[in-house]
């Protein structure tokens, strides 16, 4: 027998199911009375520094249907690229948000500040982006992806550079639709399938 590695294995994932909102966004399903304060209602507070932006989009399944039951979490740094808790980070930005598609329109909207760039350990700089994590009925392991911005210089981003099929890079780039307004659609499967991450 060789020596033993003292390591545990990660707990296996299970789908969040159709009723995930009960636990994570109770007011979305009319259960707001359960907690005094819901978590992740907004990634910013009044006074957050930087450009306020709104990102609107839908999550489409493989048939092209805009899903109504997914829950999304976003995580991002402040306008200078500092995450909450880091030295000098904007005290008015938590960086964390939970949101879901509107039951009627099938669209979600994320209102936040545009994030700053974040360096890697080796010094290379990642273009501004927001990390997303998507769960829903029929998704067995939460899906990671990122929102980049059409009006930023994404040419040297190390993650985007690793995407072999160049047209697929576009699936991670929010399109500017107006002043401070962006569109970002997510496609789980089929034509234009979003690049999902294993990071």
């Amino acid at each position: 027998m060789v020596q033993k590695l003292e390591m545990l294995q990660e707990t296996p994932s299970q789908t969040a199911g159709p009723y995930v909102h009960i636990g994570l966004m109770p007011s979305y399903t009319g259960n707001g009375q359960i907690f005094a304060q819901e978590l992740g209602e907004s990634p910013i507070a009044d006074g957050a520094q930087g450009e306020i932006i709104e990102i609107t989009g839908s999550i489409y399944d493989g048939t092209g249907w805009a899903m109504r039951d997914a829950l999304i979490e976003s995580w991002q740094p402040d306008a200078q690229g500092r995450f909450a808790g880091q030295d000098g980070a904007d005290p008015n930005l938590s960086g964390f948000c939970r949101f879901a598609a509107d039951a009627e329109s099938g669209e979600f909207t994320l209102r936040t500040v545009k994030p700053g760039p974040v360096a890697l350990r080796d010094g290379r700089v990642q273009a501004p982006h927001i990390s997303l994590w998507i769960v829903a009925r029929g998704i067995n392991l939460g899906l990671q992806t990122r929102i980049y911005f059409e009006d930023e210089d994404n040419s040297a981003d190390p993650l985007l550079a690793r995407i072999e099929q160049r047209p697929r890079v576009e699936t991670l780039i929010a399109k500017k639709t107006g002043a401070g307004q962006y569109r970002f659609d997510i496609r789980l499967q089929g034509d234009g399938e979003t690049v999902f991450l294993d990071i």
């Binding site: 545990l8 296996p12 994932s13 159709p18 359960i34 360096a119 999902f196």
Partner: protein
């Protein structure tokens, strides 16, 4: 030598595959193309922190939290408890654990759930807490009922509690489900069966914990959760390419 390197890559083999014909909804919701892998960056290694200040005193008491302490929920009283650990076996302190579940009859308090079993006016079905210094957490709740769901002709979910955990990094984010020891529906459930290795599925089955059950009050079930760990930063200062 610190544990401040990138997150240890996920062993995707122990998780359910995205596409599983036994669980029909996965068919149109599973990416078909490979995931893009990369060493984690600050975007994945940092994550939201939640203080005790954002939680209420009854948040981890599902028997009382819906009525703010006025009237207890119906059902078998149980305590669900355990530790949040990382892959190195260390407790993850001060991290948020959230749970949600059906009531004792198998009905969720959700606008989309129309099951025959009635709502319990005293049960909301959600709770949350923050782990202590050693990574421990606990919830007082009622045992959820099994329930049927539209999939194949006659599929039922075993009794289960949904669990959501953060860790300290957004890349550790995990949602799973806790099952109960001895439930005969576990081997029949297509969602449980998305985990192909029975030994891995068994890791989601909480044993009855008589030593922590309280006489004349509640039964205890133990459920530990393991999140991804970090690589130790050995030789991280070398010049690029060496």
């Amino acid at each position: 030598m610190l544990d401040d390197g990138p997150l240890i890559p996920r062993n995707l083999a122990l998780h359910p595959a995205p596409y599983d014909p036994g669980y029909k909804t996965t068919l149109a919701r599973s990416p078909a193309l490979p995931l893009l892998s990369m060493d984690s960056s600050a975007s994945e290694e940092t994550g939201p922190r939640f203080g005790h200040g954002s939680l209420g005193a009854l948040d981890n008491n599902l028997i009382l939290n819906w009525t703010r302490g006025k009237s207890p929920a119906i059902g078998e009283r149980i305590v669900m408890h355990g530790r949040v650990l990382d892959e190195r076996g260390r407790g993850v302190p001060h991290t948020l654990v959230e749970v949600w579940q059906a009531n004792a009859g198998g009905r969720y308090r959700h606008k989309k759930d129309g099951y025959l079993a009635p709502l319990d006016p005293n049960f909301g079905g959600a709770g949350r807490t923050i782990t202590d210094e050693a990574g421990r957490y606990q919830f007082l709740t009622i045992r959820p009922g099994a329930y049927p769901w539209p999939n194949r002709g006659n599929d039922w979910r075993p009794m289960h509690i949904h669990v959501s955990v953060f860790g300290h990094s957004f890349g550790q984010r995990l949602i799973t489900q806790m099952y109960f020891e001895g439930d005969p529906l576990i081997p029949l459930c297509p969602i449980a069966a998305t985990i192909k290795d029975r030994a891995q599925l068994d890791r989601l089955v909480a044993p009855l914990d008589m030593a922590n059950s309280k006489p004349l009050d509640y039964l205890a079930y133990k459920f530990d959760i393991v999140l991804r760990g970090r690589r130790q930063s050995m030789f991280e200062n070398k010049p690029e390419g060496m």
